[in-house]
């Protein structure tokens, strides 16, 4: 965070469109590895927009949100194209109650709680992991669940609990770690499983009455595991084009072009822009590892989206010995978000980060109120860190 630029000013009316927009677009084009292609794709995007029509595209993955702000993708797009930020940041969708449960476990006698560094500052109702650590809890940041397993091996008289989070990208690694713990007979290792599944979350978003999304920029890493087939219902039953995208700025631009082309031609299909990494069938071995160790939970709470059936994973009965929720009766209290926090609306794409009443004032990356400001892939942190304010400024000017 030391390298973070100064916080952006509050949105102020500024000269709209015209030379300002062109200058900023050119500046951002310079960051592309292939500037000529980027310019050509941006031009094609503008051509494909039909006059008078507006387009909303949701990028599901937080990594894409990060790229979009970091590289100012929005400044290369016509006004008619609006990017809506989806719920694909696993840190952002963790409800406060689950953070509380993890801290409750960390407070039990002889426990070492391990987790990814991304979770350190996520606020629970009684503070974050960082604050619990300061109070004396033994909470250790790890890079991999395998690090947790090693800590368990090295501390046979302690109980080591791994706070597992993430979509299908990280679930296979937790699954394989549990299999390894079982094979090695490591009995002081367990998992507080918070893994979530992307498809049920997308179903919930598609069912929302306030949905303003004409197509989806699909998550690259999750699709490495689950492949492209599971998205077919979105294209076929909901009539929304779906393009799995890579993480470079040019990947995102090309995906937007592919979505617009589908709409222009009246098609609605699943396409894969990220064939360099993602195969249509995904990584079957990784999916099998998840299925062997985990099963869907009846329901799970997502910050901002509420309770969604079958949207998260828990350990199967066969691996109950490694399930922290079976070892302890965690409080499992439902905790409402702070009243001022509007992460829910941000995560559903209903408001932009800068429209939140505490954005950049009471809620900053140093002292976050909501999860979207904690993770570097959260929409609010991305907006804050990169200070991309040209659109809000333009909107403010229009309103003013």
């Amino acid at each position: 965070m030391r390298d973070r630029p100064a916080p952006p000013d509050a949105p102020t009316p500024a000269t709209e469109g015209g030379p300002v927009a062109v200058t900023s677009a050119m500046r951002f084009v310079d960051e592309f590895r292939d500037r000529d292609t980027a310019r050509a794709v941006a031009a094609r995007i503008a051509e494909l927009c039909e006059p008078g029509r507006r387009y909303g595209f949701m990028e599901i993955c937080g990594g894409h949100t990060h790229t979009i702000y970091k590289h100012g993708i929005e400044d290369l797009l016509p006004e008619a194209v609006d990017l809506v930020h989806g719920p694909g940041c696993p840190v952002c969708v963790i409800p406060m109650g689950r953070v509380d449960d993890a801290i409750w476990i960390a407070e039990q006698e002889g426990v070492i709680l391990t987790s990814f560094g991304d979770l350190l500052r996520v606020p629970g109702s009684r503070g974050s992991f960082l604050e619990a650590k300061a109070r004396g809890c033994d909470i250790r940041m790890v890079y991999s669940p395998l690090d947790s397993l090693r800590i368990a091996r090295e501390n046979p008289d302690r109980r080591v609990v791994f706070m597992a989070i993430g979509f299908e990208t990280t679930a296979p690694s937790t699954a394989v770690t549990v299999l390894r713990a079982a094979a090695e007979g490591i009995s002081n290792f367990s998992v507080l499983c918070n893994h979530v599944s992307i498809i049920p979350a997308l179903r919930a978003i598609l069912a929302a009455s306030d949905l303003r999304v004409d197509g989806f920029i699909g998550p690259g890493h999750v699709s490495t595991v689950i492949g492209c087939e599971p998205y077919r219902f979105i294209a076929e039953r909901h009539g929304r084009p779906f393009v799995v995208a890579g993480f470079e700025p040019l990947d995102i631009l090309q995906s937007i072009q592919m979505l617009l082309l589908q709409l222009h031609e009246g098609r609605s299909e699943v396409e894969n822009q990220y064939t360099r990494v993602v195969s249509w069938e995904g990584n079957r071995k990784a999916v099998r590892a998840i299925e062997e160790v985990m099963e869907p939970r009846a329901t799970f709470e997502w910050r901002g989206l509420g309770w969604i059936p079958d949207s998260a994973l828990q350990l199967r009965k066969e691996y109950a010995a490694f399930d922290a929720e079976r070892a302890w009766e965690v409080p499992a209290a439902r905790v409402a978000d702070p009243r001022a926090c509007q992460c829910g609306e941000v995560l559903r794409g209903v408001i932009k980060p800068w429209q939140c009443r505490v954005f950049g004032t009471a809620c900053t990356p140093e002292a976050p109120i909501g999860t979207c400001m904690v993770s570097s892939e959260g929409a609010c942190a991305a907006y804050y860190n990169f200070g991309r304010f040209s659109r809000p400024r333009a909107a403010a000017a229009r309103r003013g």
């Binding site: 840190v91 890079y143 991999s144 397993l149 090693r150 990208t169 296979p172 394989v176 490495t224 993602v278």
Partner: protein, 89 residues
Amino acid sequence: MCLGIPGEVVALGDRPGMATVEVGGVRRPVNVMLVEQEGVEPGDWVLIHVGFALARIDEEEARLTLDHLEKMGQAYQDELRALAASRAG
């Protein structure tokens, strides 16, 4: 946690499913069992998430991804630091 980082396999590990992979100039043990069906050999590039290779990629893709990650700045540096401190094995 969500970053996929490219690494080059430099040696197969002495334990099944493990390999030594060079990532960001550091050699780390990485679990490669989820990409083994594609065959993993020294010189291959893999995309790594939290200590596990999830996909094999070619060298050109690895270079593009590394270039992109380096432009990310802090988030990538944090991930590399965490990885360097990892003792997973």
